[in-house]
């Protein structure tokens, strides 16, 4: 069995968000890049499944420029066996999924995150499954391999379910898929340098959406403070001023 984990390269979660060129583009100067938190958990779960036995290899893949290679190396250092980078400047979820469709055909399990923490597209996983014409399960908080089929825990609106689906399968993962992300050890970092990172040229694909520009939210008015010993006053303000109680 072979597992493919999709890796989105995103700004560190504490990054101060700024835009350049008349608010037309995200300002990447000084930004630290990380593995998208969901993808990091997906990779952690993939490693756990591999350790339980029956998995031949874990491949990680990214659509991005050479600048994303440190992120892929980190995934290798955590324990993936090999990496694929499709050499392209990602434009939207459809563009990314179309690129991935070139390389994603021969896997039994594909894992994607529920969304990239930068553009929050929430699209790549489901699109890729439809392009490959395989099954997908979304909002997944647990996956394991039992007797050749996958047992999957997923959230539904108002509860959760345990479902089983046969391979090949794509899961779109979220909170709960693994507890804490694995951190690369020194040995892993050394080994990662020798693991294969294959670069594949981009396919000619048109994006279907275009990001026209960005806005920052309006600055908030100052917080209205109430004294600790007069806390009931705050409830009165919510009732009479804000009118939300």
């Amino acid at each position: 069995m072979k597992i493919l984990v999709l890796i989105s390269n995103v700004p560190d979660t504490t990054t101060k968000i700024r835009f350049t060129g008349d608010n037309k583009a995200f300002d990447t100067s000084g930004v630290q890049w990380i593995i998208n938190p969901w993808d990091e958990l997906a990779l952690t779960r993939a490693l756990e499944i591999k350790e339980a036995g029956g998995v031949e290899s874990i491949t990680v893949a990214n659509v991005g420029t050479a600048a994303t290679e440190p992120t892929l190396r980190k995934a290798l250092a955590v324990g993936a066996d090999d990496a694929i980078r499709i050499d392209a400047e990602p434009k939207d979820a459809f563009y990314v999924a179309s690129q991935l469709a070139q390389i994603a055909k021969d896997y039994d399990l594909i894992m994607s995150g529920i969304e990239s923490s930068d553009y929050n597209g929430a699209g790549v996983g489901g699109m890729l499954a439809a392009m490959l014409d395989i099954h997908s399960v979304s909002a997944v908080s647990g996956v394991s391999l039992e007797n050749g089929a996958f047992t999957v825990q997923r959230d539904i609106d108002g509860g959760n379910q345990k479902v089983s689906v046969s391979a090949p399968l794509l899961v779109v993962v979220q909170k709960g898929i693994a507890k804490d992300p694995r951190i690369p050890a020194m040995r892993g970092i050394m080994m990662a340098r020798k693991k294969p990172l294959n670069v594949i040229p981009a396919a000619a694909v048109e994006a279907r959406t275009e990001f026209l520009g960005y806005e920052m939210p309006e600055a908030k008015a100052a917080c209205k403070m109430v004294d600790e010993d007069n806390a009931k006053e705050l409830i009165r303000l919510l009732h009479e001023e804000a009118k939300v109680l």
């Binding site: 979820a93 699109m127 099954h135 997908s136 909170k175 275009e210 026209l212 960005y214 806005e215 600790e228």
Partner: protein, 322 residues
């Protein structure tokens, strides 16, 4: 040419979210000079289906087929695609919730459509088709143009007013003709969260952080929650440490919510926490540290001890409720 809206039901009933989606669809249809068709899958009584007419839905396609109960992502997406084709719909709207996020991306591949998820408010324009959404996990807004003929959107809850706009509604039975072999997701077990207000539906949310000191101290927050009919939430370390169930975790790596009122007790206001609650209309913070970042995001605040403040809040709420 019409606008198609997928209105999911919860045990045969629609929720405010369904009417919000219908209102949103009907506003877009009006601008495009077209009509609204709703697609309903599952057992919903005719009266309930008709209630969509109050919010501008002209026609309901009613699919009654138990096989869809497994929410098989492929089968449902294919069924929605069939409905879109039969209506010649140009704009397709789903909710930005678990179901919508599962089906919409698959749907775009079937329909050669462009997708924007988590759309907030009315479109900026319909010609060209430009919508707004939050990006960088709630930290900024983006304007995005969809360039394809057919457009698929998932719509963020609580970002459009429910508007009454009664029209005549026809209900038509619809069979999307999905073969048995398309359904491969087998449901082994379902756990419904009952007797609790779902966080995603709650108008008021009461939330606690590490400043609450331990799970044994939640009684006051729960009492507030009961009095207000509020949903309960918490910060990540609180759910990680098992003080509270994981469904209550809000933030960048938890749920993203947009209630009218969010109470943060003993929560420092880390950027990853605020990412999940910054769309709340009003935020109230109680923290003993005047420098806590949460006060930069809050509308009302108290610098003080949560254990002194909570009993006073409860008393105050009881007074305004009586």
């Amino acid at each position: 040419m019409s606008v198609l809206v997928y209105t999911e039901n919860w045990e045969g009933k629609f929720k405010k979210l369904s009417y919000e989606l219908a209102s949103f669809a009907s506003a877009i249809a009006k601008e495009m000079g077209s009509t609204v068709t709703a697609l309903s899958i599952g057992h919903v009584a005719d009266d309930e289906l008709k209630s969509l007419g109050k919010y501008g839905v002209n026609k309901v396609l009613n699919v009654q087929d138990n096989r869809f109960e497994s929410l098989d992502n492929k089968a449902v997406a294919d069924a929605i695609a069939k409905a879109v084709a039969s209506e010649g719909a140009k704009v397709v709207i789903l909710a930005h919730n678990n179901e919508g996020k599962a089906f919409a991306p698959r749907l775009t591949v079937k329909l050669n459509a462009g997708l924007v998820t988590g759309v907030i408010g009315a479109p900026v324009s319909v010609e060209p088709f430009v919508v707004k959404k939050k990006v960088f996990t709630q930290k900024a807004f983006a304007k995005i143009q969809i360039k394809t003929d057919v457009k698929v959107l998932t719509f963020a809850q609580n970002s459009f007013d429910v508007v009454e706009n009664q029209v005549d509604t026809v209900i038509e039975a619809f069979d999307p003709q999905i073969g048995d072999d398309e359904f491969t997701t087998k449901v082994n077990e379902t756990n419904k969260i009952t007797g609790k207000i779902l966080l995603s539906d709650a108008e008021i949310v009461v939330s606690g952080g590490r400043g609450m000191k331990g799970p044994e101290n939640w009684a006051g927050l729960e009492e507030m929650g009961d009095l207000l009919g509020a949903g309960m939430a918490c910060s990540r370390p609180v759910s990680d440490d098992g003080w509270r169930p994981k469904e209550e975790h809000v933030g960048q790596t938890g749920k993203i919510i947009a209630p009218n009122l969010y109470f943060a007790f003993g929560i420092s206001g880390a950027i990853q926490h605020v990412a999940g609650v910054s769309s709340s209309k009003f935020i109230v913070a109680v923290n003993k540290d005047p420098e806590a970042p949460i006060f930069e995001f809050a509308d009302y605040g108290i610098v003080g001890d949560v254990f002194k403040v909570i009993p006073q809040f409860i008393e105050g709420i009881k007074e305004i409720k009586s």
